[in-house]
């Protein structure tokens, strides 16, 4: 790509610094943008991440690894490369990684979103010479509705279910999405319960100092329980498994950016689809690139080719990052689940809780 970064079969590699960024397989030294398992791989010897990511990363990586955490904005020099982390707004502790070497500034966004999220610090633009940006939702059909509006609909759905004597089953990623959902729920409607993987994420969030409404771990509820009117936040992989049977009559909902398209919603066979994403939509992707104003932008994930072509037509130097070693974009095939399932696999359900496939 240039004199200090190359795309390898194991992911992005910083040549003078001798470290990988979000490697696809175990390496010696990993600098990671955030704790989702498709970015932070199990099995590396050393991890470097942003300070607010600490609780989540320690929760998910082997305790035998060596960890180092840097507060946002602080710089560490590795092999002559100045490394610093800047808020990405994706989930708690998510960061864009800024690399400076011989006067050249590069930025790797990882996953990011613009706008507010009460559970993590907001994205900040970083001026750079070149930038690697995700483009998971890089088509103009993706335009996120306001967060307030989405939470209003979710709470309204909960209220209607409560009045109809049903239990609400709301699906989201174990870490990140679930906590964002929790922060937006109105606890005056009823009690909130969480799946084991979600509850572990909640604990890590609370330890980091993020306020979340009171939640109860589903597995701690013994015997027969009246689930009517309650909200259960769970990982999507439990959908349709025996685990959900205990809740009796329920209404199910999925929250994800993919829910913007009817077909994806229907394929999920959930009752409701709420459009809530932790990635940039089309417009905010363009806004972010303009704000960082790089000379060259590399696109990765999802609709990279379309975004690159569009930017080139707009007069920018834009290219598709050849992500070797990674299977070709599964993203537009509604693959949020599989990355979530991977995430799920690393957090075993607590004892007594059914294993999810």
């Amino acid at each position: 790509m240039n004199n200090f970064l190359e795309s390898t079969s194991q992911g992005l590699y910083c040549i003078p610094g001798d470290f990988h960024i979000d490697p696809h397989s175990p390496v010696e030294r990993a600098v990671v943008t955030h704790a989702h398992s498709d970015h932070a791989r199990w099995g590396c010897q050393k991890y470097l991440a942003a300070k607010p990511c600490e609780q989540l990363l320690r929760l998910r990586m082997s305790p035998e690894a060596e960890f180092r955490f840097l507060p946002y904005g602080e710089t560490l020099t590795v092999g002559g490369v100045r490394v610093s982390f800047h808020p990405a707004g994706h989930i708690l502790g998510s960061a864009q990684i800024r690399l400076e070497y011989q006067g050249q500034v590069g930025l790797i966004t990882g996953d990011y979103k613009l706008g507010t999220d009460p559970t993590c610090e907001a994205w900040q633009p970083v001026r750079c010479h070149w930038m690697v940006s995700e483009s998971t939702f890089g088509l103009p059909i993706y335009r996120w509705p306001s967060q307030e509006g989405v939470f209003q609909s979710i709470n309204q759905w909960w209220q209607e279910c409560r009045d109809a004597g049903k239990c609400c089953l709301l699906y989201g990623y174990a870490i990140g999405k679930s906590q964002r959902l929790l922060a937006g729920l109105d606890p005056t409607i009823g009690r909130i319960y969480c799946h084991g993987a979600v509850e572990k994420g909640n604990e890590a969030y609370r330890r980091t100092g993020i306020a979340l409404p009171e939640t109860t771990y589903v597995g701690s509820v013994a015997g027969k329980h009246d689930w009517r009117g309650t909200m259960v936040v769970a990982v999507p992989s439990v959908h349709g498994t025996p685990w959900v049977k205990k809740f009796g009559r329920c209404s199910t909902a999925m929250s994800s950016g993919w829910m913007a398209v009817r077909g994806a919603r229907r394929r999920r066979s959930v009752d409701r689809g709420f459009v809530l994403s932790d990635h940039v939509d089309w417009q905010s992707l363009l806004t972010a690139i303009d704000a960082c104003n790089p000379e060259t932008v590399w696109l990765t994930h999802g609709y990279a080719a379309s975004v690159a072509r569009y930017l080139v037509e707009q007069g920018r130097d834009a290219r598709v990052l050849d992500s070797r070693g990674r299977s070709e974009v599964d993203e537009d095939a509604a693959d949020e689940v599989s990355s979530n399932e991977r995430a799920n696999a690393s957090i075993d359900p607590a004892p007594g809780e059914a294993k999810t496939p």
Binding site: V261, R262, G263, R266, R272, S327, E328, D332, A333
Partner: protein, 533 residues
């Protein structure tokens, strides 16, 4: 309109019949007659003729969203639904307005068709500026003529019946034939009073259930309770003779005018107050039925030329009598109706209006042997009808059964893939299959259905990882996957590369046990062509 869009949403959201029914009943309860009439119209599958060319809609949407047209097309292929792509691409407007469904259709949508392009553009953009997602999607589906909802006509009928307190069969009959979606129509539709039949109005069709190939016909009861007929591959229709006029209806409730002059003139001989149910077939005299492809030449022609009349002669093979001498005899048994049908047709004795033959046999085994010969007579198998059953509305279990011949199957190689529509949107689920012609693979059929969800995902992944080239939305993939393709029939076709067109191709199973070189050849496919073409 907000209420209708909410109904669309409510039905779209659920797969449970009861919830759909409840949403419909509530809608009909809340809506005024004019709105209810239009809702019935759209929910029954009727469409407005295209109001604005979709090409223009695409251009205007791209302009409104400030994106190039190629990006609109890429978005469309990802979404797999034009109205939805338009809805999502154009920035949301200020909603909601307070016009009702009928006001929208009559005041804002229907006038679009007659407008000049400039005015159309202004009107469409105004609609976009005044609508947000939920309402906009429904409006665009009406404009593009793609309004379709996951609700069957029988559920709509039941909902209206429940709302009106009138039986479903009566509602179903009143919804047959030609009607205009007006307030007064809806008022009559839900009226508890008995109404005169309109001369042209057909009866709701009785439909057959398939017999499971594995289970066989034994599971439906003893053979002596049934008769067997050929199941012809033609156009199902009703011939109506009332008030000195003849009406020929298709099963899709199209009034077919001027298409079948031979049948029309034969039907002139019928006494007034007669309704026949049967099949229009291309046929060279007594039971010399030609393959469906011949009939296709006559469909959709405004006028039938003399040459075509000679080339593809048609007959109406009647298999049921629904009205006789002005009397609705649907509640009589099949045996009684059949007897009256035979009497009636023998009194006319016209070669273009004949009575379908009852097949000899008294046991399932005898009929199974006859069924094995179906293809020789260009039939699709057998129809089994219960002797003591009345003529039912719709697909009622146990009355009529279709016992089709086992379909043809071919092992073919997947060579192209394209993203699907609707529930399969965003996934590579539409495939083109090929067979070997020497060393080359020749495409011969497209198939969309037959795989389960997990297989669909697996193939989608395969396509993404094994793409060779992309031609617009179509990807050519490494020829590695073999699937068994079933189809009902085949014919020669100069439009297809293989020279063969198949009828209703679908995937039976994914042959993971087979290598691509073990797939069938074009020669083997050609061998399956019928002897009479």
């Amino acid at each position: 309109m907000i209420r209708f869009a909410a109904l669309f949403d409510a039905i779209d959201r659920t797969t449970k019949t009861n919830e759909k029914l409840a949403a419909l009943v509530q809608y009909f309860g809340d809506a005024n007659h004019a709105d209810a009439a239009w809702a019935t119209y759209f929910l029954s599958g009727y469409k407005l003729k295209q109001l604005v060319p979709t090409k223009l809609l695409r251009i205007w949407a791209a302009e409104e969203a400030s994106i190039p047209s190629w990006l609109f097309e890429e978005s469309y292929h990802s979404v797999g639904d034009l109205a939805e792509t338009l809805t999502l691409i154009v920035p949301p407007g200020e909603g909601p307005d307070d016009l009702s469904l009928s006001q929208w259709v009559e005041q804002r949508l229907m006038p679009l068709r007659a407008m000049e392009e400039v005015d159309q553009r202004d009107a469409v953009i105004t609609i976009w500026k005044q609508s947000h997602t939920q309402v906009r999607l429904v409006i665009l589906k009406l404009i593009t003529g793609a309004f379709r909802l996951g609700v069957s006509k029988s559920i709509v009928t039941r909902a209206i019946a429940e709302h009106a307190g009138v039986s479903s069969d009566v509602i179903s009959h009143r919804l047959m034939g030609i009607w205009k979606p007006t307030a007064s129509f809806f008022q009559n539709l839900i009226s508890k009073e008995v109404q005169d039949t309109i001369a042209s109005q057909p009866f709701p069709f009785c439909l057959a259930h398939p017999i499971d190939h594995e289970l066989g016909p034994e599971c439906i009861g003893p053979a002596k309770d049934f008769v067997a007929e050929w199941k012809w591959d033609g156009i199902r229709g009703q011939v109506i003779r009332r008030n000195e006029q003849v009406f020929i209806w298709s099963r899709g409730e199209d009034l077919m005018e001027n298409s079948w002059p031979e049948i029309e003139s034969a039907a002139q001989l019928l006494p007034n107050g007669t309704v026949l149910d049967g099949e229009i077939l291309a046929s060279l005299g007594e039971n010399q039925v030609l393959p469906f492809a011949n009939l296709q030449k006559r469909i959709g022609r405004k006028a039938v030329s003399n040459k075509l009349l000679k080339e593809v002669p048609v007959v109406f093979q009647a298999f049921d009598l629904l009205q006789d001498a002005g009397e609705d005899i649907r509640s009589q048994t099949f045996s009684e109706r059949r007897q009256r049908l035979e009497q009636l047709l023998s009194s006319i004795d016209h070669p273009n209006l004949c009575c379908t033959q009852l097949l000899q046999g008294t046991t399932w085994d005898e009929w199974a042997k006859i069924r094995d010969r179906s293809r020789e007579t260009n039939a699709e198998g057998l129809m089994l009808k219960r002797l003591d059953a009345s003529y039912e509305v719709g697909r009622v279990r146990g009355v009529w059964w279709k016992w089709k011949v086992t379909p043809y199957t071919i092992d073919a190689v997947l060579i192209y893939a394209q993203k699907g529509h609707g529930k399969r949107s965003g996934l590579y689920t539409d495939y083109t299959f090929a067979v070997w012609d020497g060393d080359t693979l020749v495409p011969f059929a497209k198939a969309y259905s037959g795989l389960d969800d997990s297989q669909m995902k697996a193939v989608d992944k395969f396509v993404r990882q094994n793409t060779r080239e992309s031609f617009g939305p179509v990807r050519s993939v490494a020829p590695a996957l073999v699937m068994e393709i079933a189809f009902e029939g085949l014919q020669r076709s100069p439009r297809h590369k293989s020279g063969i067109a198949t009828r209703f191709p679908r995937i039976v199973r994914w042959r993971q046990d087979k290598k691509p070189e073990e797939a069938n050849t074009l020669a083997e496919l050609i061998d399956l062509l019928p002897s009479i073409e």
